[in-house]
């Protein structure tokens, strides 16, 4: 289902905000479910997207485990003598953290259902200054540029007959350290060159820019948005009026 990028941006903001405001695990789980449904409606491939960011997902799971071990309170579940390893409060905190991060990741995946350019156009149409949109886009693109440059230099070292894997650990560290500086300098130089080239093509020449792509909200876009707003309002009402389910239980 192709939706206007502004609708997607509003959903991303809405769902992440609701996840932060949600009072407990049950409310956050509801948001997770809704985020998954929204992703399905927009046709994103959730599993493939999560696979691509598997490193960060593993990191989040790691933090979750740390939280469950470090936050104390409630009923002890795993303990030796008076030393409590895992408690109910720790588990709940950890779960809340995990589910909130899941909402953030799944909301980010919503953004992948549109190309970066459309998202940028959507942000512009919503009143975000173009300079901010442009800078965010460039900053995001510099991550892959940075890693591409680093990888290219690693290849260059290999092409000088140096088998990096066979180097002793200290030399390997020295090598990587050696490469960071020119890679960063290369990125800085590239950004300087880029700033000249965009100025050469009229960047910030005028207060207002035109847009090649026309963004028009259709009937289904408005309906989709309306559903989201109604849900959001209803959720907040229940969240604050009824309060925490866990404390009731």
């Amino acid at each position: 289902m192709k939706r206007d990028p502004r609708v997607k941006l509003i959903y991303i903001l809405l769902l992440t905000t609701l996840a932060i405001l949600a009072k407990d695990v049950i409310y956050i789980s509801a948001i997770v479910l809704v985020t998954i449904i929204v992703n399905i409606c927009l046709g994103t491939n959730i599993l493939r997207a999560i696979k691509r960011i598997s490193f960060y997902v593993s990191f989040i799971v790691f933090i979750t485990l740390v939280q469950s071990l470090t936050v104390k309170g409630g009923t002890p579940l795993i303990y030796i003598g008076s030393f409590v390893f895992v408690s109910t409060t720790g588990i709940i905190f950890a779960l809340e953290f995990l589910l909130r991060m899941l909402v953030i990741i799944l909301s980010g995946i919503i953004a992948t259902s549109t190309d970066g350019r459309e998202m940028a156009d959507g942000m512009q149409k919503m009143g975000v200054p173009y300079e901010f949109v442009f800078m965010s886009g460039i900053a995001l693109r510099f991550f892959p540029i940075f890693s591409d440059e680093f990888r290219a230099r690693l290849n260059a070292i290999t092409m000088r007959g140096i088998n990096i894997k066979k180097l002793p650990f200290r030399k390997k560290i020295r090598l990587y350290g050696y490469l960071m500086s020119p890679t960063i300098s290369g990125c800085v130089l590239r950004s300087e060159q880029l700033s000249i080239s965009v100025e050469a093509r009229g960047f910030r020449a005028l207060q207002h820019r035109t847009m090649y792509r026309e963004l028009k909200m259709g009937l289904y876009d408005w309906l989709f948005l309306a559903v989201g707003i109604v849900f959001g309002a209803g959720f907040l009402f229940v969240n604050y009026y009824i309060g925490s389910f866990i404390s009731i239980l």
């Binding site: 230099r153 092409m159 000088r160 007959g161 140096i162 180097l167 020119p182």
Partner: protein
């Protein structure tokens, strides 16, 4: 040295079209090969496959009869000097001198003899005055000369150079040509990926090849 390519095919992914299709050719030492072709036809890709930076989808490459699939890229680079299309990405040391000294320092083989060779290479490639400069501040043409100077310090049997003259002035180009002719006279093989007709027309005894529709003609 002989580089034999047999029925080589390559595609970037299952969905993308084949860039190279059953390509077979034998490159022999003592010759200079000028491989041209339209933009996007796969010249750089072929160079990277020979160096082991990309794995072929099918087919074989033999170095003096030995199957290259068992030879790691770093070991291939000990026999073949490779210059990237964008020389800026293969330079990383703080100074020009360090750039040439780096491989020997990291491998622990630096000695007075090598230092002497580095000084000679700096003079030969007209980089002596720039030896304390950062390679990143050099012009494109200077970077190309520096990359070639680095390769010249290793005793390689073959050179694979991707657009080595794209930013060289006439003096630089003439120097490159005489260097390559010298290299091949001493038994080394050279494969140039290039569009530079000015260079092509000046190399003595060059073998002109065209990469088209995935194979060499």
């Amino acid at each position: 040295m002989k580089i034999e390519i047999k029925d080589l095919s390559f595609r970037y992914s299952k969905k993308s079209p084949r860039v190279l299709e059953n390509l077979s050719y034998i490159f022999e030492g003592g010759n200079i090969y000028f491989l041209e072709g339209k933009n996007g036809v796969g010249k750089t890709t072929l160079g990277k496959i020979i160096m082991g930076l990309l794995k072929p989808t099918s087919g074989y490459i033999y170095f003096d009869g030995e199957d290259s699939s068992k030879i790691k890229p770093a070991d291939r680079a000990k026999k073949i000097g490779y210059m990237f299309q964008n020389p800026a990405l293969q330079l990383f040391a703080p100074t020009v001198f360090d750039e040439l000294a780096f491989p020997f320092e990291i491998m622990g083989t630096m000695d007075e003899n090598i230092k002497d060779n580095i000084q000679k290479a700096l003079k030969k490639f007209n980089l002596y005055e720039a030896k304390d400069r950062s390679p990143l501040t050099m012009s494109y043409g200077e970077m190309q000369r520096l990359a070639l100077a680095g390769i010249s310090l290793r005793n390689v049997d073959f050179l694979i150079l991707d657009e080595p003259s794209s930013a060289l002035d006439e003096e630089g180009r003439n120097f490159l040509i005489s260097y390559l002719e010298d290299f091949s006279r001493n038994g080394g093989g050279v494969i140039l990926f290039s569009h530079d007709e000015d260079t092509l027309s000046k190399i003595n005894g060059v073998i002109e090849l065209v990469l088209d529709n995935g194979s060499i003609k």
